[in-house]
Symmetry: C2
Subunit: 186 residues, 2 copies
Amino acid sequence: MGLDQFSEEHDEALHKMRKRVIETIGRNMDLYGISQSTGHLYGMLFFADQPMTLDQMGSEMKMSKTSMSTGIRTLLDLKMVNKVWEKGSRKDLYEVEYDWYQTFTDFFDVKWRKSVEANIMILRKSIDEMDRMLEEYAGNPELFAALQKDKMKLHEAVSYYQWLDRLIDTFESGEIFKLVPKEPPM
Amino acid sequence: MGLDQFSEEHDEALHKMRKRVIETIGRNMDLYGISQSTGHLYGMLFFADQPMTLDQMGSEMKMSKTSMSTGIRTLLDLKMVNKVWEKGSRKDLYEVEYDWYQTFTDFFDVKWRKSVEANIMILRKSIDEMDRMLEEYAGNPELFAALQKDKMKLHEAVSYYQWLDRLIDTFESGEIFKLVPKEPPM
DNA sequence: AAGAACGTACAGATAAAACTGTACAAAGCA
DNA sequence: TGCTTTGTACAGTTTTATCTGTACGTTCTT
């Protein structure tokens, strides 16, 4: 629906401005691993005056309902949009999370955290395996040296991921805003 | 070039371990907006004992030289690998940046910073335009209200991006390591 | 200066993703 | 309970990204 409530010629300028901002938001959304069209969907919702249904989005974006469904699901998973219930309607309504600081921290909590944990797990497993191999091939100097070199690399990788894990903790706890306040120090 | 120096049966286990870690690294590399195969290339380089040439990578990865070239260029742009000069060889040699903390901050400096700056510029431009429209359509209450609402949203977006800009500053300056030390506090 | 080796641009082929329409399950309404 | 509406699964199509081979410019060697 968007601007339907002001169907006059002035709206053209507002529409154009919104479109430009939406384009920009959508283009830079690949940082979050989101496709451009889902980024557009997000941008459109950003300017929406009230929560929207899938059908409304579909007609606004001129896209199929299925695409809207999958796009919204992606945005929901990243907590970039929220589901809103409105009594009397059995349609699902969605609106963007307007607190972008929250969106930022949620993004890292959802996407990066998962990756960090998976990596640490695999690395630990590999280090254990490596310890066994180090014992087994203690008599083969060359192989032993190669194993130790790899093991050191894996240990350093684990340290890094643990740091990343703690960094994400500070995002999630809001501690990061002590170091970098939302309001710039004048 | 990998394990060729130990062509015995024990190497199987080491190879397998490396492969698993490489797979994991490659899979989670999409956080950096990098394709899976470029992620594999990175993982392979991670375990390489010395800097490698494009041809060596090509034979190790069983991929075309062109793909190696474009993959390496991507990794170079993100400063995930470095070009190494070796006197006497006119081939380009590459090795991964083993300081992953550096890689992390470089990533934000390269990718996010660009995005942040582009967004702020577009938003400022739109806010200016909006001020003109607010004057022009002061007589149209509904449109005026809509404009003000949008303008507020844009202002909040600018604030957020400025915060992000300052956050990336703390990454780049290393100040972030004061809040989140590399060595975990025991 | 001529030749050889190296890296990349380009165009075509292959693989992956995004999108659509239909069909169907779930949930509210009569 | 039957009827309608809403959201999603699935298969097929379209679009986009990735990969390959050839051709060519550049640089180093002789």
